[in-house]
């Protein structure tokens, strides 16, 4: 097991955002974390990466107990992430955004930097300040920057938000490629089922901070609890104004 | 005057090099000490204008007017040093009338040493200055530790049934602290019990402290500070319904603003001084100190206090030294060196009284010719109430109640 989370619980004041959460992630797969808005997905990410200290529970990464360790320490161990609300270094260029987090500098690092920029199709923006990039490019840059620290586990928080279906497909391919090229494991939060279904080997479903289902994507899709709480009836339920006329 | 310095109003038209003595005036025209800075400037200007009116300083058989060059030290020692450097090297002043504050004096004095330009301060009164033994720096006001003992003496020894207990408050600046130390030392020497002694940082609210002192019920509340703090102490005490038998303060009480702003509340407050406008002393330049007061009053609207007067006298002392020296402007380096010797030996009777400078010891180059005075505000005016042989009015003790004035 690359990561195992045991009995993770977190309170914000009186509000229990995550409740006795258990999850294991095998090395080399893409695991999905889905659930309704406010279910506690992002909070879970924050706990794993050390941005919040859990009220109780344990997080074991590659055999190390990283619970409550400072964020930079956890990143150093090999967990990188992206943010639901982008957190790029706005006034740094694309290139600098990558370079700044690389922990070794030098020829190899420079080559790695080039490679990431190419892979993520950021060549033409390389010298732009990141805040001046179109949204989609900013999303890609965030992933590239996370990869620059050479993580073993990559946590992606809604990377496809605000993308149209074609862009979602492109991003899905990119992520598929990453997992091959970089020898890493991915934990993905995403509401776009199109992407989740295309990528994930396994899904964990969260509601009210608790796991309500876990298993292969296909099984989850048919889980009535998940359908009711999260998936809905798919586009079918939309009445379609146009057809009514 | 390449830098656009303005001349004193009555300098006349003598601008040619060698026609006038160029005098540098260094003082605080902005920043925290702007009040006293302006008072000193008034003192210096009164001297210059009067000298020029009378035709100038007499050297040999010729008279030379004085031309004033001003520089603002921004109440900051570094700016003060810049200012002296400027006046000496650019304006080529022959001598300098010194700063208002002791801090600026300490930073400016080394520059005067460097260029061998004499400086007399008419205001700085921290004893620390004189301990440095600057060759070119002199001062007309006796250091505070020399003057602050007089009113304590009066209050304790001269008044029948005098003060037995005293609370001392002071602001933590060089001048005010020295005042408090001197009050304390004198009081203790005379067997007075000091029930409270507190040196507070500038800007403190005195009310809580006075509340505490009120509980101790001392005969005298003595304060080291400036006009602003003195006013605040009186206002605070009154609003607490607190009235000791006497308030004792130092500089600032003699300041016209003190009485003007406090009105009857200023009554009976004691202070220390070296001079008041009540004195009648003969003077070469103004004929008498009374005439000086008149001149000053028509010029500035207020009565001069001992600081302004000390500054005017600083100018007079330079004048006397120049007459004695007999050197024509511009002064050469050797002239200026010789001037120091003249100043060291000089003994002039000015409107301030006998003025002479110590040649050695801890008061090196400070005016030790003068004695201190105990003063008290009576009927809205500054009256001399001690020491015994000098008093012009009887001391009032204890002070009348706030509402019986």
């Amino acid at each position: 097991m690359l990561l195992s989370v045991k009995g993770l619980t977190h309170y914000f004041g009186g509000l229990r955002a995550v409740n006795d959460f258990n999850m294991e992630i095998e090395k080399g797969i893409i695991q999905g974390l889905i659930g309704p808005n406010g279910a506690g997905k992002t909070t879970t990410f924050n706990l794993i990466t050390g941005m919040h200290v859990p009220t109780s529970g344990e997080i074991i990464f590659s055999g190390d107990n990283i619970t409550g360790k400072p964020a930079y320490h956890i990143a150093g161990k090999g967990i990188a992430r992206t943010f639901q609300n982008l957190k790029l270094f706005s006034r740094l260029t694309v290139r600098e955004n990558i370079r700044v987090v690389q922990n070794k500098q030098g020829k190899d690092a420079a080559a790695e930097e080039e490679r990431l920029i190419k892979l993520f199709e950021l060549e033409k923006y390389a010298e732009y300040r990141s805040c001046d990039l179109p949204y989609g490019a900013q999303r890609r840059l965030e992933i590239a920057r996370a990869l620059a620290i050479k993580p073993k586990l990559l946590l992606l928080d809604e990377p496809a938000a605000g993308m149209n279906p074609s862009e979602v497909d492109n991003l899905s391919e990119l992520i598929n490629m990453i997992i091959k090229e970089f020898d890493i494991t991915i934990l993905l939060i995403e509401h776009q089922m199109r992407m989740v279904m295309k990528l994930c080997h396994k899904l964990t479903v969260l509601n009210f901070g608790e796991v309500i289902a876990t298993g292969a994507p296909r099984d989850i899709l048919n889980n009535s609890g998940v359908v009711e709480a999260y998936l809905g009836k798919g586009g079918a339920s939309i009445r379609g104004k146009r057809s009514e006329r | 005057a390449g830098c656009g310095n303005k001349e004193a109003a009555t300098t006349g038209d003598s601008k040619e090099q060698g026609d006038v003595f160029k005098v540098g005036v260094l003082t605080s025209l902005s920043g925290a000490e702007v009040y006293g800075g302006n008072i000193t400037k008034r003192g210096y200007d009164t001297w210059a204008d009067t000298v020029n009116q009378k035709g100038g300083i007499k050297v040999g058989d010729k008279q030379y007017k004085v031309q004033m060059f001003y520089a603002d030290d921004q109440s900051d020692p570094a700016s003060g040093a810049d200012a002296v450097e400027r006046m000496i090297t650019k304006d080529k002043v022959d001598f300098i009338l010194g700063p208002y504050t002791s801090g600026v004096t300490l930073a400016a004095a080394p520059i005067c040493e460097k260029y061998k330009v004499p400086m007399i301060t008419g205001s700085a009164e921290s004893p620390m200055i004189w301990q440095q033994k600057f060759k070119y720096t002199f001062g007309t006001i006796p250091a505070v530790n020399l003057t602050a003992s007089y009113p304590v003496n009066t209050l304790v020894s001269d008044i029948p049934g005098g003060a037995k207990t005293m609370a001392i408050l002071a602001v933590n600046d060089a001048f005010s602290k020295a005042v408090a130390e001197s009050f304390k030392a004198t009081a203790e020497k005379l067997g007075v019990k000091v029930v409270k002694y507190d040196i507070v940082p500038a800007g403190t609210d005195f009310t809580p402290l006075l509340g505490a002192i009120k509980g101790l019920n001392p005969d005298v509340v003595a304060v080291g500070g400036h006009e602003k703090e003195h006013m605040e102490v009186i206002k605070s005490a009154k609003s607490l319904g607190f009235l000791p038998k006497a308030f004792l303060m130092h500089y600032g009480v003699t300041n016209p603003d003190f009485v003007k702003n406090l009105g009857k509340d200023a009554e009976a407050v004691y202070g220390a001084s070296t001079w008041t406008s009540d004195l009648d002393i003969a003077d070469a330049l103004f004929e008498s100190s009374k005439k000086f007061v008149e001149t000053y009053k028509t010029k500035w609207g207020d009565e001069p206090d001992y600081t302004a007067t000390g500054c005017t006298v600083a100018g007079e002392v330079f004048g006397a030294a120049l007459e004695k020296l007999g050197a024509k402007p511009p002064l050469s380096e050797s002239d200026r060196e010789a001037m120091v010797t003249v100043l060291e030996d000089i003994k002039v009777d000015t409107l301030y009284g006998a003025t002479s400078f110590a040649k050695e010891g801890d008061n090196y180059h400070n005016n030790t010719g003068l004695e201190g005075l105990t003063i008290q505000i009576q009927g809205g005016a500054v009256k001399i109430v001690g020491p015994k042989d000098k008093k012009l009015a009887e001391p009032i003790y204890p002070a009348p109640a706030w509402d019986k004035r």
């Binding site: 309704p36 406010g38 490019a137 149209n164 074609s166 979602v168 497909d169 199109r194 339920s237 009445r239 | -």
Partner: protein
């Protein structure tokens, strides 16, 4: 043209960089019109310029017959336009309830405000549970609900919605689109920017396709949803 929104030759620039190069379109009363386009095409920029958040460089914007080009946004709002901006723009230091009430700032009809409040809280039960929570601590999706709810509270006749479904769980995406239909049926007008082009076209009357700051294709929704270019570029191929 009487009612609705009409934009002619709109140009908008950020500093010296022009992002929208002369765009014209209209939205008639009671219509749902969608604006689709790739990331960075200029959709949000157009909405911002229309609602007065950023200045117009050239062109005219007419709302219900009144020219409102470069009016300050608070005045435009007064004419009955609401805008759910990209990135939600909720007031993080106000509570959920206060956010909704700010939406009704310009309204005086106290009774109807209360009615609308009940309506919105009914639409999003999550918000009802969290009425007193500071909006900044809501999850991403919860904030999105709040942003839409707040726009509904303005009681505006014409709504500009910038990616209202972003970050919402699939089940909520459905409700958002259904809400749009309800609103339109109530006679209000909607200009909808959506990445989820398939759904947007499903509920819209007409649409415009924006490519790098200019309109490339436009037509009624049915036409667009079958247009090969649109299919390829925005609908993820034949899906």
């Amino acid at each position: 043209m009487a009612k609705g929104l009409s934009v002619k030759g709109l140009k908008v620039a950020y500093g010296n960089i022009e992002a929208v190069h002369g765009v014209s379109f209209e939205v008639n009363e009671g219509e749902i019109v969608t604006l689709i386009g790739a990331n960075g095409a200029g959709k949000s920029t157009i909405l911002r310029a229309v609602s007065g958040m950023i200045p117009v460089k050239e062109g005219t914007v007419i709302l219900n017959g009144t020219e409102i080009t470069s009016w300050p946004s608070h005045q435009i709002t007064g004419l009955g336009m609401a805008h759910v901006p990209e990135g939600r723009g909720i007031f993080t230091r106000l509570t959920v309830l206060e956010n909704l009430l700010v939406g009704a700032f310009k309204r005086k009809d106290k009774k109807e405000i209360d009615g609308d409040l009940d309506y919105v809280l009914g639409l999003f039960p999550r918000l009802n549970e969290r009425k007193k929570q500071l909006a900044g601590t809501l999850s991403g999706g919860e904030q999105q609900m709040l942003a839409v709810g707040r726009a509904l509270m303005t009681g505006a006749d014409i709504l500009l919605l910038d990616e209202p479904s972003m970050g919402l769980a699939p089940v909520l995406v459905e409700s958002i689109f259904n809400i749009c239909i309800d609103i339109a049926e109530a006679g209000k007008t909607i200009l909808l920017v959506e990445q989820n082009a398939a759904m947007a076209l499903a509920i819209a009357d007409r649409g415009y396709v924006l490519e790098t700051g200019s309109i490339a294709i436009h037509g009624d929704a049915e036409y667009l949803s079958k247009h090969p270019d649109v299919l390829n570029a925005y609908l993820g191929g034949a899906s």
